[in-house]
């Protein structure tokens, strides 16, 4: 898994919904770069132009609530964000992020103490979030092994493909 080293924090509040992550008026496309150009536009017009590769989004409770649009994590991932740290995530967003391989961590302490512009270092394997500016390291809730399997495969599609290949090799083609 990738590691983000000393990247800048973009801090948001509670209940950041998928309508502000990618407004519906842009949903007539699913091209990642086009979606990224409008990421967070309605709550932070400076995000899309200012975000740099590796930056971290930190937010409060219920991040990603609202619609099931996978365009939301896709836009965040395509804008170069290396990880989203939040006090909690809305469940469909959580699922989608894992399925498309956008690293996310649930860590209420780290979320509460971070401010925009802080430098943050994240170790996904260890599940630690270090706020270099504040000088605090916090532990995030670890992923269950099942979900780690999906993430390690590179996403759900890769996971399913690998399973199908294995099944074919075993001589029982599940596609039949």
């Amino acid at each position: 898994m990738k590691m983000a080293n000393g990247y800048r924090v973009w801090k948001y509040g509670d209940d950041v919904d998928t309508d502000v992550i990618v407004p519906a008026r842009y949903l007539t496309t699913s091209v990642p770069s086009e979606l990224a150009a409008h990421c967070m536009e309605d709550i932070d017009s400076g995000f899309a132009s200012g975000v740099m590769k590796g930056d971290v989004i930190v937010a409060g409770r219920n991040f990603g609530c609202g619609s099931s649009r996978e365009h939301a994590p896709i836009a965040i991932k395509a804008s170069g964000v290396s990880c989203v740290v939040a006090a909690s995530f809305a469940r469909i967003f959580y699922r989608n992020a894992i399925n498309i391989g956008l690293p996310i961590l649930e860590c209420p302490e780290a979320a509460a103490e971070a401010d925009s512009g802080d430098m943050m270092e994240i170790d996904l394997e260890a599940g630690t979030v270090s706020n270099l500016t504040k000088g605090a390291t916090r532990n995030a809730a670890p992923f269950p092994p099942f979900m780690r399997g999906i993430m390690e495969a590179g996403g759900l599609i890769e996971y399913v493909s690998a399973q199908r290949k294995a099944a074919t090799v075993d001589g029982k083609d599940e596609r039949a």
Partner: protein, 426 residues
């Protein structure tokens, strides 16, 4: 091990004798749903799986409703991608313009979701089908792609919150007011990752249309699903839409709930959610007469025939206030036709409202009623986030069809009781 209703359906579909909250399971799917926004992404992912075929061409539903009838060239391309896929894989339940409707009203109407079934949909309001005693939940496009290929999906078995309903609603109060007041009380993450299980003697008096509108908004409390017990009304409804056999599940008497909330339905009043969260609720009577520019009556929450009847009863002979734009969109073609036959469409047009073809339209700020900066709408939809119906500087107030229609008459957010006395509840 005692189980909730949701847990029983999940157990039955995963081949387990019993499941418990927190357990990760893989379950077989009875239906996989996608729309013109989410399916194109899913189709792209699906094509990445080598040699993939759909698991069952009769268990996939594709509905162009969000930007259809095609809003612009990009929307047309998205709908085309879905149509082409439907042809290529011979998908039985693809709904072209002419027989389409808003997915969550359309699927139950077509008998595609029955009690005890397990449905995933790449749309967050897939939780609507809990109204008929099914387990259904929203997922993303990648889950939809994997579901179409394998007929299976992974789930974390949810813990549950039980809502025991007693008494009977009175006056203009409806299922929409009930769910808004619940979300107002528990918050937009009040049921995060949980199932909301409705129960109690008060359920019997709720119509199917009300149950749909209540289950529809479970996601607005963060829930994985919302579910109603199967009763006489459900069985009669099921018989009217399908002749397929179905299984009934009910919670064990000693099932574990994280918490139990008791609600006396007689205490529910017309309720409005102020911007910009569905939990920001106030009584319609205490809304301070906020002036509105637009009134939207429709959506997967409240675009069903009962909703249109209520709205028409208030608009009849009164008319839409000068300066207010009132848009009515029946949720499906069947509902539209019924509204024509019952004379409701005539009432709406005579009152000065416009009636649209079924579409999600303004509900998600798509088309057919977008708000300009500084404008306000009362809508019977389910979300009032920043920019949901158009400009990020516009506002959406969520309400029942009765409150929306009354507000159209006065041009201000109005308790329907102030415009017309409520009829006796059946």
């Amino acid at each position: 091990m005692a189980m909730t209703m949701t847990q029983k359906i999940l157990a039955a579909h995963s081949g387990e004798v019993s499941v418990e909250a927190g357990q990760l399971i893989e379950a077989g799917l009875d239906l996989v749903l996608g729309n013109d926004v989410t399916a194109p992404v899913a189709i792209k992912e699906f094509r990445k799986i080598e040699g993939a075929k759909v698991f069952d061409r009769s268990k996939i539903a594709l509905v162009p409703d969000h930007f259809a009838p095609n809003k612009d060239i990009k929307a047309a391309e998205q709908c085309k991608a879905m149509r082409d896929f439907a042809r290529e894989h011979n998908i039985e339940h693809y709904f072209e313009i002419g027989c389409m409707g808003i997915e969550h009203a359309l699927l139950p109407e077509r008998g595609l979701v029955l009690p005890g079934e397990l449905v995933i949909g790449a749309d967050s309001h897939t939780c609507t089908y809990g109204a008929v005693g099914a387990f259904s939940t929203g997922v993303g496009s990648t889950d939809m792609a994997a579901g179409m290929a394998t007929g299976r999906a992974w789930f974390k078995v949810p813990a549950a919150i039980r809502f025991v309903l007693t008494g009977k609603m009175a006056g203009w109060a409806t299922g929409k007011d009930l769910i808004l007041s619940i979300i107002g009380a528990i918050g937009v993450d009040g049921a995060l990752y949980r199932s909301m299980e409705f129960d109690g003697p008060g359920v019997a008096a709720l119509s199917m249309d009300e149950r749909f509108s209540i289950a529809n908004m479970a996601i607005e409390a963060g829930a994985k699903n919302g579910i109603f017990p199967v009763d006489e009304r459900t069985r009669a409804w099921a018989a009217s839409v399908s002749s397929r056999p179905f299984a009934e599940y009910s919670a064990d008497a000693d099932a574990e709930y994280e918490r139990t909330v008791e609600i006396d339905l007689a205490s529910v009043r017309p309720t409005v959610a102020f911007p910009h969260l569905p939990s920001n609720t106030r009584l319609a009577a205490d809304s301070g007469g906020v002036a509105v520019d637009q009134v939207v009556i429709g959506s997967c929450t409240n675009g069903r025939i009962e909703d249109l009847r209520v709205a028409a009863s208030i608009l009849k002979g009164r008319g839409v206030a000068r300066g207010v734009r009132c848009i009515v969109f029946p949720a499906t073609q069947k509902i539209y036709l019924e509204a024509v036959r019952e004379g409701l469409v005539e009432t709406f047009i005579e009152a000065g409202a416009v009636v649209s073809t079924p579409t999600c339209g303004p509900c998600l700020g798509g088309h057919m009623g977008i708000l300009a900066e500084g404008e306000r709408a009362v809508a019977t939809t389910n979300r009032n986030f920043v920019g949901r119906m158009g400009h990020p500087g516009s506002e959406v107030y969520l309400a029942s069809p009765a409150t929306a229609a009354a507000s159209a008459v006065t041009g201000r957010i109005t308790d329907p009781g102030a415009v017309m006395a409520a009829p006796e509840r059946a």
